[in-house]
């Protein structure tokens, strides 16, 4: 499923990286340790996290992830949004918890 469709169905906020929303999501990964994501996430997954540091975009780009979803209503700083635009990584947000949004994405993509 395309990121744009996933975002519509789940009512996600798009903070940046809109040029990447036509990519397909192939599963997801939940983690707040960037070292763990570097080690274990796979390309084209959607990454669900509470981390809002700008390294998130660098790691997402390195791992060729489909998108990043920031949970709990946390908002990325302006420089993170700029980074997501530069790297074409859709940076999305939700007020829901990682548990809730991961559950919904799992049921859509499984």
């Amino acid at each position: 499923m395309k990121i744009s469709e996933l975002a519509d169905r789940l009512g996600l906020i798009l903070y940046g990286g809109s040029s990447g929303i036509d990519k397909d999501a192939e599963g997801g990964y939940c983690s707040d340790l960037l070292s763990d994501v570097m080690g274990h996430a796979h390309a084209n997954q959607v990454w669900i996290t509470v981390q809002t540091h700008k390294n998130v975009i660098a790691v997402a780009s390195l791992k060729e992830l489909a998108a990043v979803i920031i949970v709990q209503g946390l908002e990325p700083a302006p420089e993170v949004i700029v980074q997501s635009e530069a790297e074409n990584i859709p940076l999305l947000g939700t007020s829901e918890s990682a548990f809730e949004i991961a559950g919904k994405i799992y049921s859509i993509l499984k």
């Binding site: 340790l33 960037l34 070292s35 994501v37 570097m38 981390q51 809002t52 540091h53 700008k54 390294n55 660098a58 790691v59 700083a77």
Partner: protein, 247 residues
């Protein structure tokens, strides 16, 4: 220039995980026994125990760098140090503002006690000090440097609470004065794994929570005299000053 031996990462009775034997007098007598010229007092998210140790250390000829081990929002531990009581107090206000209200449970996490030079209990920190501040890595770095302090990401080789475990790599625009590695590795082995970090200055310290851990890993500073200003110059290798980890 002379060489001075330093252990810049020591917890006290104030840290919940710090042993109740980590009182000012015992820390200083251990530092004397281990022939340390410089020590750093770095409790979790609090500077409330270090000023008394700095005053007592001065009488014994031990230079005490006063500061804290801060936990940023990303759960990264960073050592911070300040030159004057005034800048320490101002940083304490920042900590008080940014530490969550969550109370400590001494049975689970340990006591958070503030003592005077005679080991009389002056107070207890009610809030849980091992919590993360509501402040990002960059916000903490900027606050520390605004107050003229020193900023050192702690035990960066560890798989928990380190800048690498939490952020994957060191943001290239982060203004660090040095990086700390734990006693678990050596600078040589670490840089063999991370050659991209060669431009940084490294220290290593004990991260002592118990008296016998003090000085188990030290860093040798080449300085005119043991002082905060000289250490800051040494991190920049100014005019023959130097920093060398002793394995």
């Amino acid at each position: 220039m002379k060489n001075f031996t330093a252990d810049l990462h020591i917890h006290t009775v104030l840290s919940p995980c710090g042993d109740l034997d980590m009182s000012p007098d015992i820390i200083l007598s251990q530092a004397m026994a281990k022939k340390l010229d410089l020590i750093g007092i770095t409790d979790h998210n609090s500077t409330r125990q270090c000023q008394v140790i700095r005053r007592m250390g001065a009488e014994l000829g031990i230079c005490v760098l006063a500061g804290a081990e801060v936990t940023t929002r990303e759960e990264i531990h960073c050592l911070v140090f300040f030159d004057s009581d005034e800048s320490l107090d101002r940083f304490q206000l920042f900590l008080d503002e940014r530490l969550p209200a969550q109370k400590n449970d001494p049975d689970k996490f340990g006591y958070q006690v503030i003592v005077d030079s005679q080991n009389n209990v002056k107070g207890m920190e009610e809030r849980l000090l091992i919590n993360a501040l509501d402040a990002s890595l960059e916000e903490v770095e900027q606050e520390v440097h605004l107050l003229g302090g020193i900023f050192i990401p702690a035990h960066i080789d560890k798989p928990r609470f380190s800048i690498l475990s939490q952020l994957g790599f060191i943001p290239s625009d982060l203004a660090v004065d040095a990086l700390e590695i734990s006693p678990l590795t050596t600078q040589e082995n670490w840089l063999a794994l991370h050659p991209e970090q060669r431009q940084y200055c490294f220290i290593s310290s004990s991260d002592a929570h118990f008296p016998d851990q003090i000085g188990r890993r030290v860093t040798r500073f080449t300085l005119l005299e043991p002082s905060f200003c000289e250490i800051r110059k040494a991190f920049k290798k100014e005019e023959g000053r130097n920093v060398l980890i002793m394995n």
